[in-house]
């Protein structure tokens, strides 16, 4: 019998998706499926940002969640002062991008040649710093942001209401994913980034500045984080310091699990991984047989991560090293 790690990636990806969907339909858990897909697209957005940074700089970016939280805080401050929603969203994205650029300039670039594990600790430090600043600005209280549209049940597949805000979130993931796929496969800049991640020296030799590309990918990742934060915050209800990084709303670990599940370097993998993690998590939450375990969703995420790393470290869609 072939080992799980040796099977072709298409087969494993397809088979696991089919198994998950079948299990859910058989067990009558269509609400877990729908809700899971909504959360899955949120995790997918975070995972996409993580994959982007990992592909270009080989860094596990623990500050990815905080890019989103910084945007959420900017959005909240401006909405409190009566600024129109769209303008507030734009300002939130700009704030996140500024934060991403600062991170790249002040932390990542000085550590360009440092071991990757040092960079991981550094990004965790950036996340902690951002959480501290959020405590300073907003205090420890939980805050709320109103949704873009209050409509709650325009469509309801399997009898589960899907609100407009959730639809916007899913649409954002699909649109951004499409743009990124086009960008990385068809444009010169996108191909240059891929090149720089694979052969930095050769890329410099053909006259492309690897450092400038590095700033650009951090801007892109910050933008993805900002979109994930801004669109998800009205769905979750409330947010506090470290909204996307820590606590029950934290998307960083599910996002990482999704990215690892997808293969860490594969963007379609981040989508699939996000969907699987979201569905598995909401399945665990709704399963009465698992009710004796406290926090079943977090246990599920840990198990997924452990199993993937133990059995198939290259993920479902990643290339074998």
């Amino acid at each position: 019998m072939p080992k799980l790690g040796d099977l072709p990636r298409g087969a494993v990806g397809g088979a696991s998706t089919i198994i998950v969907v079948l299990l859910l339909i058989i067990s009558g858990n269509s609400s877990a499926l729908v809700n899971g897909l909504v959360f899955g697209s949120f995790y997918g957005l975070v995972a996409l940002g993580l994959v982007l940074i990992y592909k270009s700089s080989g860094v596990f970016n623990f500050a990815q969640g905080e890019f989103g939280t910084v945007a959420v805080y900017t959005l909240w401050i401006l909405l409190e002062r009566g600024v129109p929603y769209l303008l507030a969203i734009l300002a939130g994205i700009v704030a996140a991008i500024a934060f991403g650029l600062l991170t790249e300039r002040l932390v990542i670039r000085p550590l360009f040649d440092a071991p990757r594990v040092i960079l991981l600790v550094a990004t965790a430090g950036v996340a902690l710093l951002a959480i501290g600043l959020e405590f300073w600005i907003g205090g420890a209280l939980l805050r709320q942001v109103r949704p873009i549209s209050g409509e709650l049940g325009r469509i309801s597949p399997f009898g589960v209401n899907v609100s407009d805000q959730q639809l916007i979130l899913i649409a954002a993931l699909l649109i951004l994913g499409g743009i990124l796929a086009y960008f990385f496969n068809r444009t010169n800049l996108g191909l240059a980034i891929i090149g720089a991640s694979q052969e930095p020296t050769a890329t410099e030799l053909v006259g492309i500045s690897v450092k400038r590309l590095s700033s650009f990918t951090w801007v892109l990742a910050a933008l993805l984080g900002a979109v994930a934060g801004i669109l998800s915050v009205p769905i979750g209800g409330s947010f506090g310091p470290g909204y996307l990084t820590v606590g029950s709303s934290g998307a960083l670990i599910p996002g990482f699990t999704a990215a690892v599940l997808g293969g860490m370097t594969s963007m379609p993998g981040a989508f699939v991984g996000g969907a699987i993690v979201g569905v598995a998590e909401s399945f665990a939450l709704r399963q009465s047989a698992l009710a004796f375990i406290p926090g079943p969703d977090k246990v599920m995420i840990f198990l997924i991560l452990l199993l993937v790393l133990a059995l198939r470290p290259q993920g479902l869609l990643g290339k074998s090293a």
């Binding site: 430090g125 501290g132 934290g250 690892v260 406290p294 977090k298």
Partner: protein, 397 residues
Amino acid sequence: MIKRAVSDATEEISVSQVVDPIPQEGHQAPSDDFRPGAKGWLARAAAGVPLAALVLLFPLTQLDFVLTKYTRGITYAIIALSLNVLIGYTGQISLGHQAFVGIGAFTSAYMVSVAGQEFPIAVLSAMAVGAVQALILGLVALRVRGLYFALLTLAYGLLAEASLFKIPALTGGAAGQPAPKPPGFDTSHRYYYLCLALLGVVLWVDHRMMATKGGRALLALRENPRVASTFGINVKAFTLFAFAVSGVFAGLGGALYAHNESQVTSVLFNFQLALLFILMTVVGGLRSRTGVVIGGVFFALIGYLIEEIPHLPVIGTVLKFLVGILGWLFVDTLGLPELRIEVAELVIGPILLLLTLTQFPGGIGQQLRPFIQWFAGRPFDIHDRGAKEVQITDVRA
């Protein structure tokens, strides 16, 4: 002066040897035959006595609630030493160390308050649980290294926070588990000295471990597991050994922490705490025992220091003036909220970490190295920064 007397030809060389204080690359460690004279030992004692008095006698003059903070500093130092074994000696990063410490704390509290065991048995079982947990994690670490291992420990910390610490039988629910101080050490002062003694034991164990074959094997492993195994080092056994030692330290630190607080609740052991543990170990200086202990104590006391320093003479006045200017700039002019102490803690720590990583990778330990070496009976050399740059090795991820 003597060298001036020799001929012109040699003068140039000898003067350059005497004057040039900047060490060349591959800075030579002073030879081992150096022994300080009577005056040298006297100077070391004169410097050491105030330091010893600060640690041993000064706490006697302090109130109970202040002493609880000092004791917390000692427990943090033990936890930092535990992380130092993992990050410094094996090169693996644990982002879920709050789970180890938390489980140690709850085990000890449970053994005393629910199972009705004696304090030594409770602490020993916390250490044993820590070792078992760490061994399991070590088995994982044999397969998964570097970035992925860090990620896995992070997920484990989250699992502990969301699931293990929500088991009411172990943690006593939202109210927390009471953890009384042991009989005989039931005042804050006595408990302080107990923890101090145990910190001494931990330091001694760490020193013995690194001074023997096992320690050299670990360092070789961190540099390159393949080369190490070629030289006959048992990679699996030594990695597991290091993890077990780290787990025992973490369990001990957690247990002492629990009994110091008298009541442990699950909210204490969150993700920020795990990051704080990393902060204090890295800022303290990996592989430098003194640095790591200073880092642990500093980060445990940072809030207290921010509170107390303004009351000191001179330094306090200068600081108050600076804070006044900053307050005027940020609070009055820009309309930002006031920077309270618990917030300042959260902001200062990460800034120190980022500065350490980008500017002084050896942390406090490397900066203090000349003084530490001097105390240990070597000549004072202000440029001594250790054999080589301190860095976490590049593990292939």
